[in-house]
């Protein structure tokens, strides 16, 4: 771990404000993410963590502020464009195809990388002759490497809906990895997991970061996990940024302590 080098700023969020009618979800939030780092966004319930991720991801369009990715500045992002630029995400409440196998679910993550046209896809040739067939085996290899990496080989052909929750979360991560992202946005990857599953997931997040050099932005509730695995932490409370720094700095920040231990607002 020690030799992993954190690079230049890759993603920068400037003065983002987002409101739904009269409800201010985010107010004037700014922070940056450096290449190869693990950056956590934490905060109590309703602090605006997922809204922040949704702004970066292009699901929400903030009223003010801008987002820069690799030097390009955007007023707001667009989901498809975000994916093409190399940002992938996982979901807090799993958006997997329950009836499909693990293999097929992860395959969907390769959607943007397939080039064969609709006719080649529709009319298949035997013995892997067609372009779509050749492409599929190449894509399958990428997917298999992810299955191997996440150690879910025994479930390759199991329908996702039949699997335990902790493993479904792993499949969700696998599908995001299938996009070969430069930045991975993880929305509460450990929510609802038991201790062992959390340990496994932490291990995989660190491994992804280490093996592929993927930059990781993660939202998490479990303070222990966040403090253990992240390089820097942003703390939100009621849509405002109240802390930013290394886990140790954040831990001793009086505003953060009061937000977590509770004071009157």
């Amino acid at each position: 771990m020690a030799t992993r080098k954190v690079g230049e700023v890759i993603l920068e969020v400037k003065n983002i404000s987002l409101a739904f009618g009269g409800v201010k979800a985010l107010t004037d939030i700014s922070f940056d993410v450096k290449e190869h780092e693990i950056r956590a966004i934490i905060g109590p319930n309703g602090a605006g963590k997922s809204s922040m991720l949704n702004c970066i991801n292009g699901v929400y369009q903030p009223q003010q502020g801008s987002i820069s990715f690799r030097g390009q500045t955007f007023k707001h992002m667009n989901s498809r464009q975000v994916a093409e630029m190399g940002l992938a995400r996982t979901f807090q409440n799993l958006a997997l195809f329950k009836g499909m196998s693990v293999l097929d679910n992860i395959m969907t993550g390769r959607n943007l990388k397939t080039k064969a046209n609709i006719f080649q896809q529709a009319f298949r040739l035997p013995f892997g002759w067609g372009a779509a067939e050749r492409e599929e085996s190449a894509q399958r290899l990428v997917v298999e490497r992810i299955i191997d990496f996440l150690e879910i080989q025994p479930y390759r052909k199991t329908a996702v809906g039949k699997m335990p929750y902790g493993l479904q979360k792993r499949v969700d991560l696998g599908r995001a990895l299938a996009m070969e992202p430069q930045v991975l946005l993880l929305d509460e990857p450990m929510a609802g997991m038991n201790v062992e599953e959390k340990q496994d997931m932490s291990r995989f997040i660190l491994d992804v970061n280490d093996e592929f050099g993927t930059t990781i932005v993660l939202i998490e509730h479990d303070m222990g996990v966040v403090m253990d695995i992240s390089d820097r932490v942003v703390v939100l409370d009621y849509g405002k940024k109240i802390g930013d720094g290394s886990p140790n700095e954040v831990r001793s920040n009086p505003d953060v302590i009061s937000a977590y231990l509770g004071t009157s607002h």
Binding site: M1, A2, T3, R4, R140, L141, E144, R145, I147, D148, F149, E151, Q153, P154, R156, D207, D210, E211
Partner: protein, 652 residues
């Protein structure tokens, strides 16, 4: 046999260069390594190890799951006349200290990060425990990118170095292979000692290959067999089945994708030659039974109907006995509807020869597999005998014997009933332990197995117990009759409701027993009968449960009455213990073997009560909880009699 492991491998590579030698499932697809590919890999690895300084007679530790490249590493070491020492991959680092220091190991080849971490832990122990361990190579680089320890390198680096060395010195490999002789040491296996440190069992090329060949001839194995290698390579059985016999026969060894996919891989491959300890067969059967419980009424009826047919007809068919036309027809329909699909689900449809060994297998379990047409047989052997001592011939498999001595084996019994073995496959010695060697190996070449048993009328070996546990009855109708506690206990334990049993009877007139019920099975049984119970102790003392266990005990008694030698060992009285025997309380060893001496002492009052004819006995016992705290449990245990049957002569 005038050959060595490497020469056998090279011969296969010369005769059938493109045939598959090893397969491994990787990225969802079975990848094949041909014999010629293997030969090249071994050559390069051997040259790399030679250059790194591995010398003739030195040891190379190999730790990992079954992986083609680790197999190649063992062959590479043997090419140089060095000795591969496979160790258990699931052992903790401190358990490696003894083998590695004992054999002064300087070189280790391990599978992955997990094993590398253990090796590095050994080097960092203070005071230094394994300072001589200087080179560690790993097969799978995952997670190891940023390790920068002296002497740690990927296996690919070793192969590349070997390739370069071979190009510059092409004669070295061949010369080394030529120099290695059949009587040189080929491998060392550490056996788990029940007392004290493990012992390194030293085998030569000749001992291992002779037994591998004898076993292969016995079952007419060919190069067409398919084997799935899924048990630890450090265990001599795995080494014989998927390494020594693999090289002797030239069949294909398949390595599973990971430990958790063995079931799926078994189905993919459909092995023709298969080995598993009884607990694996039991696990497979349990899964089938649980799934059948959930099946629809028609399927359930079909299953039970045809399994009854199978039970009646299957074993007779397997034994080559005559079977009526109607039964044959019934069985054929059953095969189509049930047995065939079932075997396929189990991944055993192509099995030609399957073995089980290691512990006693229950007769029902054994019959189940044979009745659906799987040629399951038993064998007898140990690390010291290079496995094959006795094997069951195809048509003479029985649950209670372990087969006939195969070619080259002589068996004799000592006065005390201990089995002595003479065979070309006996160990050379225990490594650096002449005292232990002298204890088991006589000057005339007999090996003391430590097992008590006898050859029955058909010449089949029957194992009764560990020799040191066998006692004699004293006084009463069966004065001086043999008493073999484990034999009786095993018979009891074959019942699902009985988890553990302790038989008492040495130097006594009759035999009594402590029983531990199986909480799950007995609890389930009670629930189905609407018997309420609050916990283990209460369930154990229910009179209905006593009745249930009494029936089991009486069945065992009826069975024992059929055996002249053991008729005196029928259980006259028994009690059900209020707590489970537990390793934490010192009542069992960590491998779940009953510690008789300790139990006899701890439960002295109960033993006395059994023999004094009391009908109940109060007892208080100290128990240790998992978190280390202790507490007391007290109970008033019922003691009941069981029916004894007159000894009957088995009809011939």
């Amino acid at each position: 046999m005038q050959t060595t492991f490497t020469r056998l491998m090279l011969a296969h590579a010369a005769q059938r260069p493109h045939a598959a030698a090893l397969r491994e499932k990787e990225f969802g697809i079975w990848q094949t390594l041909s014999w010629s590919g293997l030969a090249t890999l071994v050559r390069e690895l051997a040259c790399g190890l030679h250059e790194a300084g591995l010398k003739r007679g030195e040891h190379l530790v190999v730790i990992g799951e079954n992986r083609p490249r680790l197999y190649a590493c063992m062959l590479a070491a043997q090419s140089l006349g060095a000795v591969p020492v496979p160790l258990y991959q699931d052992a903790a680092a401190p358990e490696f200290v003894f083998p590695i220091t004992n054999a002064e190991v300087a070189f280790a080849i391990v599978e992955d990060q997990e094993q590398v971490d253990k090796m590095l832990e050994l080097r960092s122990l203070l005071p230094p425990q394994c300072p001589q361990l200087k080179n560690i190579w790993f097969d799978d680089p995952r997670g190891l990118r940023n390790y920068s320890e002296p002497g740690l390198a990927p296996l690919d680096a070793l192969i590349a170095a070997g390739r370069a060395f071979d190009a510059a010195n092409p004669q070295v490999f061949d010369a080394e292979v030529q120099q290695t002789q059949p009587d040189d040491v080929a491998a060392m296996f550490f056996t788990s000692g029940t007392t004290g440190n493990a012992k390194g069992v030293v085998h030569t090329h000749r001992t291992l290959l002779d037994r591998a060949q004898a076993g292969a001839r016995f079952d007419k194995l060919t190069h067409d067999e398919e084997v799935l290698a899924y048990l630890p390579p450090a265990w001599v059985g795995q080494n014989i089945f998927s390494y020594a016999q693999w090289l002797v026969c030239g069949y294909v060894v398949n390595c599973p994708e990971s430990a958790s996919t063995v079931g799926i891989d078994l189905n993919d491959i459909g092995p023709t030659y298969y080995f598993a300890p009884p607990r694996i067969f039991e696990g497979l059967l349990t899964t089938v039974m649980i799934r059948m419980e959930d099946a629809g009424a028609i399927k359930k009826w079909l299953f039970h109907h045809f399994m009854a047919v199978a039970k009646r007809v299957g074993p007779r068919l397997m034994d080559g006995k005559t079977v009526g036309a109607l039964d044959r027809l019934n069985y054929a329909i059953g095969k189509l509807a049930i047995y065939g699909p079932l075997r396929n689900t189990l991944g055993l449809s192509r099995v030609r020869v399957a073995y089980t060994a290691g512990e006693a297998i229950g007769p029902d379990l054994f019959t189940f597999y044979r009745s659906i047409g799987i040629n399951l047989k038993q064998l007898y052997g140990s690390t010291e005998t290079a496995v094959f001592v006795c094997l069951q011939p195809d048509h003479q498999a029985r649950a209670d014997t372990v087969g006939v001595p195969i070619e080259g084996v002589e068996i004799k019994l000592t006065e005390g009933g201990e089995i002595l073995v003479k065979s070309p496959g006996l160990l050379k010695e225990y490594y650096r332990n002449p005292a232990a060697t002298a204890e088991v190996l006589t000057a005339e070449g007999w090996y003391h197995t430590g097992d008590a048993g006898f050859l029955d009328a058909d010449g089949h070996l029957k194992i009764i117990d560990r020799a040191k546990d066998v006692g004699r009855l004293q006084g009463g109708a069966f004065d001086a009759a043999m008493f073999a506690p484990k034999y009786i206990e095993n018979k009891l334990k074959f019942f699902p409701y009985i988890k553990e049993a302790v038989a008492i009877g040495d130097r006594r007139a009759t035999v009594c027993a402590f029983i531990n019920i199986d909480f799950e099975a007995a609890g389930n049984w009670a629930e189905r009968r609407n018997l309420p119970y609050a916990g283990y102790a209460e369930l154990a003392q229910k009179s209905e449960v006593y009745e249930l266990i009494r029936e089991c005990v009486q069945q065992v008694n009826a069975d024992l009455a059929h055996d002249e030698k053991l008729a005196g060992s029928q259980i006259s009285r028994f009690l059900i213990l209020h707590k489970e025997l537990d390793a934490d309380d010192g009542e069992l060893t960590r491998t779940r073997k009953v510690r008789r001496g300790f139990i006899a002492e701890r439960y002295q009052v109960l033993v006395d009560a059994l023999y004094e004819g009391k009908t109940h006995q109060y007892i208080e016992t100290q128990v240790k909880f998992e978190d280390g705290r202790t507490g007391m449990v007290a109970a008033d245990l019922k003691i009941v009699d069981a029916q004894i049957f007159p000894a009957v002569k088995r009809a011939a």
